[in-house]
Amino acid sequence: MSTTSPGRPRTASGTALAWWVMAVGLGACSSGGGGTPKVDSGSPDTDVTPSAGPLCATRDPGPSPLRRLTDAEYAQTVHDLLGGDLLDVSRLPPGERALGFDNNADVISTSDLLVGAYEDLAEQAGGVVAGNLATYVPCSMSSPDAVCAAQFVTDFGGRAWRRPLDAGEQAALAAVFADGATAGGFAEGISRVTAVMMASPQFLYRGEPGAGPTADLAGAVALSPYELATRLSYLIWGTMPDAALFDAAANGRLATQADLARQTRRMLNDSRAHAVVSAFHAQWLGLDKLQGLDKDAVVYPTFTPALAAAFAQETNRFVDEVVWNREGTLAALLTAPYTFGDATLAAFYGLPAPTGGGFGLIQTGGTQRAGLLTQGAFLSVYGKANQSDPVHRGRFVRERLFCTTPPPPPQNIIIRPPDLDPRLTTRQRFDQHTIDPACSGCHELLDPIGFGFEHYDGIGRWRDMEGGQPVDGTGALSRTDVDGDFDGAVQLAGKLAQSTELQVCYATQWFRFGYGRGETDADACSLHDLATAFVAAKGDVRELVVALTQTDAFRYRRAGDLQ
């Protein structure tokens, strides 16, 4: 945390990080004439070029759009609040996805279907609490009255709303209880007041009125201790604060960067942090697409929902092992010569089954398989239904690993994936891209990377031969800080693991995920701090999470956003 020590006055950085420059660098390929009809790849993959704005010149917390609990956060919060999976949270409609992540506050939308679901679930929660008064409202056993209800509102409401309730809120909820009690007795009053708390914006949203101006940064508002506790708990755990975090908020122990770092390290040592780190990697890699992933059963008869589920479990276990038990670094995620699987998955990879049966550690040897990009999850998601997909695998590396958006295809051409031809390799069929000058300008950015994955078919199976010919898995990286030739995805991953640009992009992806929004020009200093800390920590993922709590973007919000 060399760059973000508490109280260190920061000024404009003189260090020009190469990545900003690079982000602009890909825009050079030609596009045809304007006007309609328009042509594009049509892929809804979401990612943007990082803002090529100014380097860190002016500190600015950036925008803080109102965040709503994601479906996963809602489920986990309800679990923690009620002490179990007691509500039918599966009825929540799927949340919006942008930039790959499910928590982008800029695109959250509200409709009757969603609000109706929240209402139903809140009433369900009311029924759960009212049906178990001894558990949730202990005072009701001896004195089921308004005083007891007020105590319940203070306790339960303080946790549900993630801060102490003010007098006006107490009074409003007391009135709800009283109406319910009149209509149907004490339990009915508790049921209704619970439902109101669970359907209210203080529970569903993360409103942040702030705690007033801060001397540290002009034009910014400091977040209140409870708002910071909530930011910490959803960033690190994906759920509400625990008792220790509430206690820290109540006692002024979230005031400094050191306080935040201390809490973060404590929270990272709790297993609740694992789910969030898993969610980040699954969304970053696009692995949620494994659910219901469709493959041509004629070409890939072995691809079943069970195999897809095994892929997902494999990558999840692998990320857990790297981040929490072993190296802890981005480089290891890209290159580690081990993975997890059962006997079926091991056979799929042509590797010995794990010892002890079940899902266990498998040593890959590091020749055909090493790291995330050689696992079935990634390779099948970025594989077509009936063939491999060098273009989109290459595009993934550019967009998700280097945070650069290759220019779109030129207009007025017809884009067509080459037909299957049993006599040719995929690489030969895609050679049109490099023959046709209309295509080659851009595809030279994608295909030479994507061809490196050609030893893996559309579901990630290793192949030495295709169409009766040997597979050529050689490729090249260009316009990166690790340019050069490689042979196969393992070598490619080895080069990627050396890239500072990739570390910076990974930090940017965590910015988007951790803060629930895309970066803006105004975030240059926060991004700079984040990336610098991550690079200084030699790509340690946990240190990156700590660094996320140290930025202006995390600690403050713009005063103007409250007007």
Partner: protein, 451 residues
Amino acid sequence: MSHFLDDRRTLSRRTMLRAGGVSLALPFLDAMRPRKARAAGAIPKRFVVMFTPNGTIHPNWVPSGTETAFTLSPILSPLAAHQSDLVVVDGLYQQGGGGDGHQSGIGGMLTGQVLNPGPFQGGANNGAAGWANGISVDQEIAAHIGGTTPLSSLELGVQVGSADDWGRMIYGGPNQPLIPEENPARAYQRLFATKGESPAQVAFLRARKKSILDAVQDQLRAVSARLGANDRARLDQHATALRDIEARLDAQAMPSMSCADPGAPALPSSLTDNDSFPAIGKLQMDLLAVALACDLTRVASLMWSRSVSLTRFTWLSPAVLDPHHDLSHKPDSDTASQDKLTRINTWYAAQFAYLLDKLAAAQETDGTRLLDNTLLLWSNELGKGNTHSRQSAPYVLAGRAGGALRTGRFLSYTGDLPHNNLLVSLLQAMDVSTTKFGKDDWCTGPLSGLL
């Protein structure tokens, strides 16, 4: 419990409460049937949108002949039995802007608006985009005619998938995409809800819900007052949805003669499996038709897959194994692919025909067909898949809109008239008095010659 049935009868339709909440719908059965036929003028109008993706094969879609004497194309041939119920509209330019071709197409299809700036990154020349900048035509209609039914509108989908630009076409307003229900069992639950509650219980649950909704509204106001304008706008959307739910607790339906609880749908083993697509679609169409017949809503939509759909039509004969979007980019010279795309679109036409069959079979209290009082729009986000052109986007209208639409016609326009004009005419056919819709400079008035 002997008194129960009698009470239930006296409750009549009034107790069909919005199912979105605790699901207060009363049992349907005889209690829901109208006691006597209403005068013809009282039959409500309905509006339905059906979307299918990735453009069409225009030469195989466009009918031949004149306005009133025309021959249906290969793609539209499954609609032959309904030719007299159709108006096929060719030659309009489907407006849209922002994002890639698919993205702007689906965003503008029903709104006649651009996409706002935002983070949804397609393969576009225009960069990323956000949600559409306006209300969709069906919601504008719902705002006028949807006020008295338990649901102001019903959005259904079939394997729509991710919540982003390509999976949303219905908008309640700028940046307010509405979510399609993709699970027929949940859609059924929302429409028909629990059965058999006693009247006293219904009243109690309704009072509880009102009490909760009122208190939550108070909290929304209190929280909003402490936040900035952008955050307040988000919470305002939430408050609007709550008010809508509350207002409809007392909704009263006017079911047709053909209103009957279809029973809980029997779902296919997997809702996500590609091959479940036809079965899910049929269940959704059945629910859509009965929702109209029972007057649970007067505005509905059905979204088949999504823009850039990768559905594989394995159930066709011979099977089409390529993902739809991959096929849609094959060149015109690739006759094998054009044939596959023709058969895909023909299959979609058959689904539209099935929906029309259902609406034709449903009888209103005055003896007319439900279809006669309904206006349907079948549309696509593109005209041509391999160029992403939105010229001559394929529009098929059906139903007579209570007499507002003369059917059995084929209209061919020239000069790239904006499709906003069609949207204006749809509004007029549904008795919404306006001469403009969507982005102002994309709209020159109603579509001449349609109504």
